[in-house]
């Protein structure tokens, strides 16, 4: 790999990526920092600088998260999943994520809503090619808040790859996290013929009311 030739190590090159898309709404943000690695990348890693509202790093949390189609087992109606879908950490703690991709396709572990002065775009993002793993750290702010964690490949979040990072007491569960919360929009799982069943039930109600009318 070319990156290995340049840096010759595990951390291969710190790149300052220009705005990727034309008319990018976030061009005013600090440039994002991507650390490309063999088979993936860690974006906006920060193991040293606490957010402004934290005097120092309070504690360390380390998680090993597996990702893949097999982790959808046990959650009907999903295709992909994480081995862990809720991460509870203390305010101002340093979170180290080892992200293991057990599939043959790309997956991501992406956090949104972090302070932008420290995390360009408000993101911390680990991405691993199929069969590889990546590790990265970031430091969370002090306020009680629940952050979205997901894979942003199209339809991966919708089809089960969604989790939440709860800092302190959090700010309430997010929707549609397998094993944690329901979807806001629910599909209908009614059998065919439900309409006929409802008409029959209505007829039964009328018949009962007629039969018992003298009681009222």
């Amino acid at each position: 790999m070319r990156f290995a030739q340049i840096a010759g190590g595990a951390l291969l090159a710190t790149l300052v990526a220009p705005a990727l898309a034309q008319h990018d709404m976030m061009q005013h943000d600090v440039m994002r920092h991507e650390v490309m690695q063999e088979g993936g990348m860690v974006m906006n890693a920060n193991a040293e600088t606490p957010p402004r509202d934290c005097e120092q790093v309070s504690t360390d949390h380390a998680f090993t998260v597996h990702a893949g189609a097999e982790y959808a087992d046990g959650y009907p109606g999903t295709t992909f999943g994480y081995s862990q879908r809720e991460f509870v950490v203390e305010p101002c703690s340093r979170v180290t994520v080892t992200f293991v991709n057990d599939d043959d396709v790309r997956h991501q572990w992406m956090v949104h809503g972090l302070p932008r002065y420290l995390y360009p775009g408000g993101m911390f993002h680990v991405e691993a090619n199929g069969g590889t793993s990546q590790t990265g750290s970031f430091i969370v702010p002090s306020d009680d808040r629940t952050y979205l964690v997901h894979c942003d490949l199209t339809q991966h979040m919708e089809k089960g790859m969604k989790a939440q990072l709860v800092v302190g007491r959090g700010s309430g569960d997010l929707w549609a996290i397998p094993g944690v919360s329901r979807g806001f929009n629910r599909d209908s799982y009614l059998p065919s013929g439900t309409g006929v069943l409802m008409i029959l039930a209505a007829a039964l109600g009328i018949a009962l009311a007629w039969a018992l009318r003298r009681l009222f």
């Binding site: 790999m1 070319r2 990156f3 340049i6 090159a13 790149l15 300052v16 990526a17 220009p18 705005a19 990727l20 898309a21 034309q22 008319h23 990018d24 709404m25 976030m26 991507e34 490309m36 990348m41 974006m43 893949g68 189609a69 097999e70 009907p76 109606g77 999903t78 295709t79 992909f80 599939d103 043959d104 396709v105 790309r106 992406m110 949104h112 775009g121 408000g122 993101m123 993002h125 991405e127 090619n129 199929g130 942003d152 490949l153 199209t154 339809q155 991966h156 919708e158 089809k159 929707w175 549609a176 979807g183 806001f184 929009n185 629910r186 599909d187």
Partner: protein, 555 residues
């Protein structure tokens, strides 16, 4: 008392019967006796306001349209309003494993998206090519949002769901966290693939989608089984178990023959091909120093053409036609559960009852076709058009102002004597034609400079769900008719209505903008409406009072 009430109601009902409902003979007799009814003006015209057009052409902030050299790759200027990402083009030409770190980062691609290896024949270009394609879903459903995820509009407000093959990229699928719009590399149609004759090609399908898929290399020379004896044809019931969600599979080809071919998913093809899992596959002639643009995202203008094309042509365009039955393509938006979607698309949907609603050229319908799917030319040029019909019906492709020459059919060159020149060319479904467009103003090849439409002359294809102009209308535009931002300087009517969602929702009177009194909507006949309301109310009251009378009489 009740009888009097009934009488009054009957009289009211009779009076409120509108005169236009009286028997024709009565009205004629009336006119004989008393003459015609007096003049009352018809309802006034009502114009429909409030539809704000989006800008036709945004400024090219990043300079993507300019001709430029990136990492030694010479990239032709793209005169249209929206151009392909030149960093991605440079990465596709050099290989994402060979290009500079800065270019790769700017392209947003992964290091293994298009890997290029050894020069096997020693002629100065790589002959080992490894392409990795992901399957992505555009305009899919969401268990939370009321609108589609990873949005891709083919025209203002028109967002049917699509599946396409896409090059591997890094990061978010959308432009950024605030935006719901898919990034530039995620679009319709699947990218046109370009390889050299004799190259050792590996195509890895990384199926990150929630349904099984394959790659079938339609018209590309490939063995039925690969070196390991495994199926290589992409057909589930003759060749291989399809690639399941989260899994990957590599197809191997070393094409002996050249030509414009096709690739598509062969799982439930009547659904998966129509959802957008299809792209052009071009095998170019082997030439020294032939660095090919391995992928042409969204088809369209080829900004780094092959040596063979450079020898014979001034420009090259990939033109990919698709038709869309919104009844199929909106099914991925109606459910989120893959089991329900699978049943809905493969068992409930019936393609034998299908009618196409939308028609795209290179993934866009009019007016968006004019942003990036124009054929831009200058006089006295030879332009190569590689055309594929990805729909389920034949296309009768008509070029205004030009007669084109068919040089190749399905990748096979026609003998010179058989190269017919015409202004309507037919393409059967999945058929490819290579066309020579000559812009010499001689009354046959070209009638001179201008903005000349080209489109399927089966007239429904020039509409979007029956609203015209729409569909896949595009144009051959001479550069002297292009403005500095790449937008054609059209004569004729304002395009503002076409850049509103309301127009394609059928809410705008089509000629309102330039003939406001003549062709705006007619107002409502309030008098007629009131009469009908009074008539209905009195008939209802007659029913109730009449029933009451009847009951009393019985008692």
């Amino acid at each position: 008392m009740r009888k009097w009430l009934l009488l009054a109601l009957v009289v009211t009902a009779l009076i409120s019967v509108p005169p236009q409902w009286y028997p024709r003979t009565w009205r004629a007799q009336w006119a004989d006796w008393f003459g015609a009814s007096g003049y009352r003006p018809l309802p006034a015209s009502v114009s429909v306001e409030g539809a704000v057009p989006e800008p036709a052409c945004l400024e090219d902030l990043s300079g993507w349209r300019d001709g430029q050299t990136i990492d030694g790759v010479s990239i032709l200027p793209s005169p249209t309003c929206i151009a392909d990402d030149p960093y991605a083009i440079a990465a596709f030409v050099r290989g994402t494993n060979n290009v500079s770190a800065a270019t790769l980062a700017a392209s947003g691609l992964t290091t293994d998206a298009v890997e290029k290896g050894a020069d096997l024949d020693g002629d100065g270009d790589p002959d080992e090519i490894h392409i990795r394609l992901e399957v992505i879903e555009l305009n899919g459903g969401s268990p939370e949002l009321p609108e589609p995820a990873a949005q891709y509009a083919i025209a203002p407000g028109i967002m049917p769901g699509f599946w396409t093959f896409a090059p591997k990229f890094v990061g978010m699928a959308t432009e950024n966290f605030e935006s719901l719009n898919a990034r530039a590399s995620l679009r319709l149609p699947s990218p046109a693939i370009r390889v050299e004759q004799g190259d050792r090609i590996r195509i890895t399908l990384e199926n990150g989608h929630y349904m099984p898929h394959t790659v079938h290399l339609h018209g590309v020379d490939h063995p039925f089984v690969d070196v390991n004896g495994e199926g290589n044809d992409g057909v589930p019931f003759t060749s291989e178990i399809p690639v399941m969600p989260g899994a990957a599979r590599t197809y191997e080809v070393q094409p002996r023959t050249t030509g414009t071919a096709f690739y598509h998913c062969h799982v439930q093809p009547h659904v998966h091909v129509m959802m957008g899992l299809q792209g052009l596959f071009v095998v170019e002639e082997n030439r020294p120093n032939n660095w090919l643009q391995t992928l042409n995202v969204g088809a369209g203008h080829v900004r780094a053409p092959s040596q063979a094309v450079r020898e014979q042509y001034d420009r090259e365009y990939d033109l990919h036609y698709l038709e869309i039955d919104s009844d199929l393509n909106t099914r991925i938006q109606r459910s989120n559960d893959p089991r329900l979607i699978t049943q809905s698309m493969h068992r409930d949907y019936d393609i034998t009852d299908a009618t196409a609603d939308y028609f795209t050229l290179n993934g866009k319908s009019f007016p968006y076709t004019f942003r990036d799917s124009l054929v831009v030319v200058e006089p006295n040029e030879r332009v190569k058009l590689r055309v594929v019909n990805g729909g389920m019906n034949p296309i009768a492709l008509h070029t205004h102002g030009h007669k084109v020459t068919i040089t190749h059919r399905d990748g096979v060159a026609s003998p010179p004597a058989a190269r017919i020149t015409r202004d309507v060319v037919s393409l059967a479904p999945a058929q490819r034609l290579d066309l020579l467009l000559t812009t010499t103003n001689d009354g046959i090849n070209s009638y001179g400079s201008g903005i000349w439409l080209f489109h399927d002359h089966g007239e429904r294809a020039v509409t979007s769900d029956g609203i015209g102009p729409g569909g896949h209308i595009s144009a051959i535009v001479y550069e002297d008719y292009l403005g500095p931002n790449g937008w054609p300087e059209t004569l004729g009517v304002s395009w503002d209505p076409y850049f509103t969602e309301a127009y394609y929702r059928k809410e705008l009177p089509i000629w309102q903008a330039y003939a406001p009194n003549l062709f705006t909507d007619a107002g409502v006949d309030v008098g007629f409406l009131l009469r009908l309301i009074v008539l209905a109310a009195s008939l209802g009251a007659i029913g109730v009072v009449g029933l009451g009378l009847l009951e009393r009489t019985r008692a």
